[in-house]
Amino acid sequence: MSDTMQLARSGFTLATAADRRRFVLQARPGTLDAAARALGLAEAPAMLATASGGAVTALRLGPQEILLLLDPAGAGDSLAALRTGLDAVAHSLVEVSDRQVGLDLSGALVEPALASLTSIDVALPAFPVGMATRTLLGKADGVLWRTGPEQFRLEIWRSFAPYISGLLDEAARDAAF
């Protein structure tokens, strides 16, 4: 399975990301801001942007949707604060820790390799560090998050991991030419 996925080519590496607890938080935009504050962030990140603080990383994937990645060590406190902050406010919080796996991609060929899978413009000016979006990777859904100039995190459903990493491997090979 995807638990120990690893690929290395010249200019491209792929590795399973550190374990995170994951939650999909959905609510009206005002509630998302309140949730962000409860989690210790200034406000909910703008559309397709991310915000981090403490044990929390928030990816704003939709007007009413944030994907929360929580460091397991601090996850309990964050969740407690979130639940308190959203008590009696309409929202949906669903744990998806096991629904998906994180893949960390890095290297000079990450951009062209990803450009083989997604029709989104992944050049740095169009897709700056900190941007995150849901997209199609080949024929599979996934979330694409730029964590550095040559670093991306993919958050993908568990069963898509072999397919997506297989495509990335071929794309990285081709990108060298």
């Binding site: 629904r99 062209p112 083989s116």
Partner: protein, 1002 residues
């Protein structure tokens, strides 16, 4: 003698590097930088192929991608030979092996050439007329024979061992074509800082300037100017120049597909290098700089090897250093051919005569030719070219003032160059859905109003004077960059010091001739072997629209998409119809611009990566225990677990009995799951499903059925209420994405006011179904003290707890009719929990079972499978689920449709059971049902068998069927007509086992 037609000191080929290659097994030598065509011509070898229909000997007529004749296959072996490559585009490398096509037994002598003698019997549309009788011969005799005799190259038979890259790209300005206009456009856009992609189909950027020894730009020879521009482009980090890269498809919203050939020109490509790369480019703005194509002239014998476009001879001479013959006759209606004559004359080729169709040609070029002592024959046409595998003479004749053609004179020649003027290459513009307009002055179609964000520049929009072309390209590039949002910069400009004035004139249609020429073969479309006569015949037979004429004659329908032929075909049709050309219209130019390798389209989507191969957390266990798998949508599911030498039937019988008699374990992880959360969750459920949800208590489950707006069953699954505001919805395996999408659609577009949100949890949970009378005794010790007794956890209820410390949602549900549990645990724990249950169940004889057993068990209980019993036209009531439809709800998706009389008609197909007389007889799924076995054919079918199995539990076969008015037919005998016999069946209720459901409620 090797390369006898090479002109020393001419061309861009490397005369120091000789390259050996074979053509049809014969060894030749060329130079590095040659194409296959230029190398063959350097050896005086014009014959390169046989034609499509008449098997006429053919040579290269052009020097570019518009080549219709010189189609070759390159490479060897059943996988590696690529057919239908244009020899004019195949770059030479050491050891290249090419063969000609469409000839038997060999290129010099071909049996199929008798078709030429039979030509009067093979007019346009002949196959529609000739091969109609006897009926039935078409499939087995005519079509295979015609396909073998006609057609182009042979497709490879083995899998393609190469691999192909694929890439999306984004840019501000895409420039298609790197001739003078394209280079100027790319530089203008590039200097503004725009992201620019410049693509050219040839090996070297420069276009016509690479064949131009005359023009000087900023005091430099044209080719050196090209080098300067390329150097500047290379220094711009925002510009990407792609050669050997054809823009072949212009899709909507400026999505342009490019095909880049990476290895084809290399003798020894680097290991792992992809053969081609397909680019899907999203361009904010597009500049089309595709240039113009010279038109051939239509006269008898215009397809003889040695008859070429004048511009092609110039390219072979100036770019490749090859003289295409020793004695040239030039036939022209355009001044540009005079420059060709002068270049050839300079290179030592004898230019015997220049026949000009115009009565009084007069321009600086004409005078220069006359000054050089060349014979210019004004008002002269070509009646015919003579020769077979090579032209040896032509008959030139005066055009008389009354329009007729006078007596001819024979001229000995080995090279006939024709120039009918230029046709702007509007293929990509036309693909972009831009409207073409007829330019009266040029007599051709040029781009009109674009439909997308695109600009044509240079010769592809009828701008021919070099200084104008450069200015036009620069202006287009600058304007495109500005339109893409870049700050405007001064467009570059250059001074053209020396250049020929573009010619005026040109010719459209078939040349006038002396005599009727009933047997004359004057080709319009070389690649599809369409003659002027064919087009005239089509008009005579009543076709008026150019689109119909195209289909009847097949002109312009070959792989070259009429690059050479369209305008002449139009001219001939217009003449025959007695209408002006612009009133006849133009046919569509279809993609691809040039043929594209299938492998490039497939790119990585082949083998294991064709589709995602989804596997559950328990897949590895199933594999280790010998499961046989089946594909269910994208998932790989265990179908059955054979023991020893068991076949599927035996394994399924054993598994069924094990579940009914003890306990079975089943991986249900692929079931779709959606968590529906929010204060309005129940309201949303009420609207999406036909069932009522308000009164479903927390901790309870209900079977949910969902229709589309049309009232037909779309999906089903068990739904559990986790909390007042939280539902755990399950869907079918294949239906999960569609259900979520449909729910989101309604939520976002119809009911945005509802405070409810959807989250896919399909892969969050591994689901282990434990089914059978012993299920509880196996599970009870594992669930960390949770009370799962019948009283605490009755059928259709759920509890949250832990199993071995792992968080669990436990559903007391059954798709088998037995006492059953579905244990949901986070996916990472799925296999461990499965193994814990497996170990605990050993004493009870726990048996793993697969989807096939699941299907039999549910059929014994009459539980439907959406997509098997239903087919998109079944209502809930048809499927026997009318009980699920709430009568009280104000509305739900499908309610209005279900109220229509037709949806309640008593003769709708309804779910019933069927029993055969012989207990061993298992009906075919899909078999039709009729009322009487002796009914006349065509019988009226009453319905069909939807599910059919042998039931080990019942010791006999069972079947479910959808039958018109089926519920009222209970007890009736119906018939299943099969090949050679008819099977009688009795209609029953669709529940065969434990009708009261006693086994569920224990």
């Amino acid at each position: 003698m090797s390369q006898a037609f090479r002109v020393p000191g001419r061309g861009r080929v490397d005369s120091a590097r000789t390259v050996s290659f074979t053509f049809d097994g014969r060894r030749f030598q060329g130079l590095a930088g040659d194409t296959l065509a230029s190398a063959l011509l350097a050896n005086g070898h014009h014959l390169m192929g046989r034609s499509f229909k008449y098997h006429r000997p053919r040579g290269a007529v052009s020097a570019g991608s518009d080549e219709p004749n010189a189609l070759v296959a390159v490479g060897s072996g059943p996988a590696l030979q690529t057919p239908n490559l244009r020899a004019t585009q195949v770059e030479l490398y050491e050891g290249l092996a090419a063969v000609s096509q469409n000839r038997f037994p060999c290129l010099q002598f071909d049996f199929g050439a008798v078709n030429t003698l039979a030509a009067p019997l093979l007019p346009a549309g002949f196959y529609y007329k000739t091969f109609m009788w006897p009926r039935g011969f078409w499939d087995k005799v005519y079509e295979p024979v015609i396909r073998r005799a006609a057609g182009l190259g042979v497709a490879p038979t083995a899998p393609d061992p190469d691999h192909y890259a694929f890439q999306y790209a984004h840019c501000d300005v895409l420039v298609a074509g790197a001739g003078p206009a394209g280079l100027a456009a790319a530089l203008a856009a590039g200097r503004s800082g725009a992201r620019v992609i410049l693509a050219d189909e040839t090996a070297e950027a420069g276009g016509s300037l690479l064949s131009d020894r005359t023009s000087r730009i900023d005091g430099r020879p044209a080719a050196l100017w090209v080098a300067d521009i390329l150097a500047e482009l290379a220094a711009l980090p925002n510009v990407r120049v792609l050669t050997r890269c054809t823009a072949f498809n212009y899709g909507p919203h400026n999505m342009v597909a490019l095909n880049q050939r990476l290895t084809e020109h290399l003798a020894d490509p680097a290991p792992g290098m992809p053969r081609e790369r397909l680019w899907q480019v999203r361009a904010k703005e597009v500049v089309l700089a595709a240039g113009a194509l010279e038109r051939p002239l239509v006269f008898e014998g215009n397809d003889r090897p040695g008859v070429m476009l004048a511009s092609a001879a110039r390219t072979y001479l100036n770019r490749y250093g090859v003289a295409c013959g020793k004695r040239a006759v030039i036939v022209t209606a355009d001044d540009s051919a005079y420059r060709v004559a002068l270049d050839l004359h300079d290179a030592g080729v004898t230019v015997t005569a220049i026949a000009d169709l115009r009565p009084a040609p007069d321009s600086a070029l004409v005078r220069a030719a006359q000054g050089a002592g060349l014979t210019v024959l004004p008002g002269t046409t070509i009646q015919r070219a003579h020769g077979s595998t090579r032209v040896h003479s032509v008959e030139l004749a005066r055009l008389l003032p009354d329009g007729s053609v006078g007596r001819g004179q024979r001229w000995r020649t080995d090279l006939v160059l024709m120039s009918g003027g230029y046709t702007p290459s509007v293929h990509l513009f036309s693909q972009s859905r831009g409207k073409l307009v007829f330019d009266e002055e040029l007599g051709v179609y040029v781009p009109g109003e674009p439909a997308d964000r695109t600009r044509s520049s240079g010769a592809c929009r009828g701008v021919y004077r070099l200084a104008d072309v450069l200015a036009d390209g620069a202006a287009a590039g600058a304007a495109a960059a500005a339109a893409a949002g870049l700050a405007a910069v001064q467009a570059p400009s250059w001074s053209v010091d020396v250049a020929d004035e573009p010619g005026r004139g040109g010719y459209v249609g078939a040349l006038p001739r002396r005599g009727k020429g009933l047997l004359a073969m004057a080709f319009v479309d070389f690649q599809n072997d369409v003659t002027a006569k064919d087009v005239k015949l089509a008009v005579r037979e009543g076709f008026q629209s150019i689109e119909h004429i195209k289909r009847y004659t097949t002109t312009g329908m070959a792989t070259d998409q009429g690059k050479m032929s369209n305008v002449n075909a139009l001219g001939i049709a217009a003449d025959a119809l007695g209408r002006p050309v612009e009133k006849v219209g133009l046919t569509t130019f279809r993609p691809p611009f040039t043929p594209v390798t299938f492998g490039a389209f497939a790119s990585h989507a082949r083998g294991d990566l064709f589709d995602p191969d989804r596997r559950t957390p328990i897949d590895s266990w199933a594999r280790a225990h010998g499961a046989v798998f089946e594909d269910v949508s994208l998932w790989r599911r265990a179908r059955y677990f054979p023991r020893g030498s068991e076949d599927m039937e035996a394994a399924v019988r054993r598994e069924c009995l094990a579940v009914r008699g003890g306990v079975g374990i089943f991986d249900a992880s692929t079931l779709g799951k959606i968590e529906i959360v929010g204060p309005d969750a129940a309201t949303f459920m009420n609207r999406m499903y036909v069932n009522a949800w308000t009164k479903l208590g927390v901790g309870k489950c209900r079977y949910g059925l969902m229709c589309r707006e049309n009232g037909f069953v779309y999906d089903d699954g068990v739904v559990g209420r986790i909390a007042q505001d939280r539902f755990h919805v399950t869907t079918t395996t294949g239906g999960a994405p569609g259900v979520l999408a449909m729910m989101e659609d309604y939520l976002q577009t119809e009911w945005p006011e509802l405070d409810v949100w959807l989250t896919s949890t399909t892969e969050e949970w591994a689901v282990i179904a434990l089914q059978g009378p012993k299920a509880r005794e196996v599970l009870a010790p594992l669930v960390d003290g949770l009370d799962i007794s019948a009283g605490a956890l009755p059928h259709m209820s759920l509890a949250e707890g832990t199993i071995g410390g792992v968080p669990m949602r436990l559903f007391r549900v059954s798709f088998t009719g037995e006492l059953g549990f579905e244990i949901n645990v986070p996916a990472r724990h799925g296999r461990a929990v499965w193994e814990a249950i497996w170990d605990a169940g050993q004493a009870a004889g726990i048996t793993p079972y697969g989807t096939e057993t699941m299907h039999v068990l549910r059929a014994e209980k009459g539980y439907i499978i959406v997509g098997q019993e239903t087919d998109g036209t079944a209502t809930p009531d048809d499927a026997g689920c009318g009980w699920a439809v709430s009568k009280a709800k104000a509305d739900f998706v499908g309610k209005r449709s279900l109220a229509l009389p037709a949806m309640q008609a008593p003769d709708r197909k309804q779910l019933v059971g069927l029993l055969t007389e012989a207990p061993w007889e298992v009906l075919e799924e899909g078999a039709q049902l009729v009322a009487r076995p002796d009914e006349a054919i065509p019988m009226r079918t009453l319905g069909h068998v939807s599910s059919s199995y042998f039931s080990a539990t019942l010791g006999r076969s069972i079947a479910l069927a959808m039958v018109a008015g089926g519920r009222a037919r209970e007890g009736e005998t119906l018939y299943v007509p099969m090949e050679g016999r008819t099977i009688a069946v009795t209609v029953t209720k669709p529940v065969f086992y434990d009708v009261e459901g006693a086994r569920l409620n224990v």
